[in-house]
Amino acid sequence: MNETSTNPLALVAELTHRCPLHCVYCSNPLELQARGTELSTEEWSRVFREAAAAGVLQADFTGGEPLTRPDIVELVRNARTAGLYVSLITSGMPMDETKLEALVQAGLDHFQLSFQGAREETANEISGTKSHPQKLRVLEWLKRHRIGLTLNFVIHRGNLDELEEMLAIVERSGAGCVEFASVQYYGWAFANREKLLPTRQQLDGCVEFMKKAEERLRGKTRVIFVVPDYYAKYPKPCVGGWGRKLMLITPSGDALPCHAAPVIPGLSFENVKNRSLREIWEHSAAFQKFRGEDWMQEPCKTCDRREQDFGGCRCQALLLAGDAAATDPVCSLAPLRPKVDAILAGINAVPAQSVVRPEWLYRPNPA
């Protein structure tokens, strides 16, 4: 038996897996979907209409890089016309001023620009491409438009010494929000985990920094800090609870409760070409699988925090415990927490600054 859900609030639209960047912590799956399998403009537009009808308020356009879709302006317009609030989560390339103008005209509400570092050499190394100067140009162009702006700095072992410089970029941009988002270990980030996890000392410095940053930016920019959950006491309430708030559509139209869900064996996903969004939300076995509490094991089953964090992340439970229904092993109450502590002990045995350049596994471009 499952808790009857109300309706989804957010639609994450992975418009494509193509991307000019090759970030070593990309959240896309290791198996990327090819261009030939992508949904058409009309199929996406139908998804937006169905989403709005199902009660979704916001559409987050992401990828890969959503700007690689030649129909991106039309998709923004159609999502907006359907009644959705539209965010573009982007690296800022490929784009010129004319394209930005067209996106704003089409009704784009919010522009979220990702940064791989504050210094060009760091950004180049992490993204495996030269993209940093373009991002700084995009920030200048954005000043001519009245549109929501969030800067997203993905932070980890290799760039935590650049926080002050990142903050300077934020202050110059006038952004309403900045996210300092610690890498989460799925997909490509899981493959590169040992090179990305910060040391305890780095994390302590980072926490101090966030307090000061909040103080300095108060009234101007909201500061959001996403902690590296391997160091947390309790797990994150992943996707706000499985099948409770969010639906993600992959480039080829599979509907997932979370972007990493395909790592869980035995789950099969419905495709928006065959079923309506509402039917999928209400009846798809994948969405039902970890909805509510019936699937929980101890200690989650009787834990006071189960309505706060929903047992943490199912995909992380699978990756670390080998069982998607286990308590997220980053939880201090989880039977497998010692495994996470052992990983951290290994990480902290090596100083953060090393003369040896890491051997990254870069995310390629799909066919």
């Binding site: 609030l9 308020l57 916001q58 009644g83 609030y85 965010s87 509400d109 919010h110 979220q112 009245r146 549109i147 929501g148 702006l149 969030t150 309403g176 929000c177 009234g219 920019t221 909201r222």
Partner: protein, 93 residues
């Protein structure tokens, strides 16, 4: 900090009301949203960069004339402070 009475609140970039025909009326913001009921909707609809805080207070004191005027003022200032904390408002002169 309490908003000054002569400033004109305006929804910050990236913040807007959903359309009139969409129910429930909602304030949409980057990555989040706020459901609006009677008075909160009346307030947000007036955060257009034209009405001063003082005018919003006067308008709502008329609409909710059965309520204690001082209470209406306190509630409005409290709500505007909350929206400001959410980075949903700019206060223009």
């Amino acid at each position: 900090m309490t908003p000054e009475l002569q400033t004109r609140p305006r929804l910050a970039p990236g913040c807007r009301l959903n359309e009139k025909n969409q129910q429930p009326r909602t304030l949409l913001m980057p990555e989040r949203a706020l459901r609006l009921n009677g008075p909160s909707l009346e307030i947000v609809e007036r955060c257009d960069g034209m009405h001063t805080v003082q005018q919003i207070i006067s308008d709502l004191q008329k609409i909710y004339s059965k309520a204690e005027p001082k209470k209406v003022e306190t509630d409005i200032l409290g709500y505007l402070t909350l929206l400001q904390k959410e980075r949903a408002l700019d206060f223009e002169l």
